[in-house]
Amino acid sequence: MALSESSLDPKQAIFDTVLGSGLGFSHIVKRGETFRIVDLEGNQAVDTLFYDAADPSERYSAVDTMRTQGGIYLSTGSALMSTEGRVMLRITADTCGRHDTLGGACAAESNQVRYAIDKKYMHSCRDNFLLEIQQRRPQLSLRDLTANINFFMNVPVSPEGELHFDDGISAPGRYVEMRAESDVIVLISNCPQLNNPCNGYNPTPVRLLVWSA
């Protein structure tokens, strides 16, 4: 697992915000801009989707991304592919080392299946995605939610085809950075899941920064 640092200075960022856990977020990252997510307190899953800003029917595709790079984990050098086979963003720095794109987003309904029927009340990433797009991205709907990236999350697969949700390998201050190859809408849920170790059972804030091209 190769780690790589960035030389970008947060003081030079054109966008810099902290997103609390359990909140949704969206932003347009323009072509050539660099987007960084910082895991401020460690082991925080950041559920993320990308859409082409000009034509959101073209969007991040987990299966095309995994197949094109020949591996399931995302890290420095990974090209985040669209449903049309284009590179949307490239990961340019990563001090965590491994990010997931198999585990998807938690939802009230899938929490019932995974944990207990009476867990439906618990807050979820899918609800964050839906509120964010209903309020701020009217061109998107439930129909557009697809398999997402979970930055800082560790979901290993065995050669026998078993899938595990393991303790995170992230730590306070670790970050992942990516450069946009075209204008993209980034849609985030800072995961509120309390039922598995994806957030270390303690969802925490993340910092989001953008640098100009």
Partner: protein, 240 residues
Amino acid sequence: MAEVTQEWLVNEPLRGGQMWSRVLKRGQVLRLTDVAGDGAVAALLFNADSPLERYNMPDTLKAQHIARISAGNVLYSDMGRVLCSVIADSCGWHDTLTGLESSAASLKKYGPGDYQTLRNDWHRNSRDNLLVELAKYGLGKRDFGPNLNFFVKVAVDAEGKLSWVPGNSKPGSFIELRAEMNTLVLLSNTPHPLDPAPAYRARPVQLGVRFAPAVAADDPCRVSCPENERGFALTEAYFR
């Protein structure tokens, strides 16, 4: 529940290159048979009564702690319900990680294979085939999510690397999906994008549809894990 019978309601070939769709009603079984072996059938699934609800790869994998599909597994929708159960599988491994072949990738791999030259043996690809089939139900590009690739095995090693596994599906191997909801099934019998064969391979598949016996309390798919017991309970509640 429909009357139990072993008669085939549908028994028809799916040529290499062909696409297909049908609403598989709750309690019906779809059998796909890989007649000559080394087959690949891409599939998308939707709740036929409300297609906003559809097959969800991550929810299917994480509920059952799997990264492949086989007998005893179920295929979850994004709403915590079971669209279909895999009640039989003589193949052992079906992929859901590696997506579809595009027309550009097909052209790059196999060279020109246009209709003008090859007529109905032209090189169709899974993405365009499914796009056409989606359109017949008012669906489109926005409705593509991670799909299933029946009869295909792409293994993941300890470092997360993917590799195509040859010889996964023997001649005559089959998989049976029992619909637990009214499920719109879209299929494309076309080469998988990681198939290393240098020439376009059109493989024959046979499709059968019949009614299933009623789901028993100890149904193997239902009791294979506590998650599936809850998934079946939520699905039954939806039809109550």
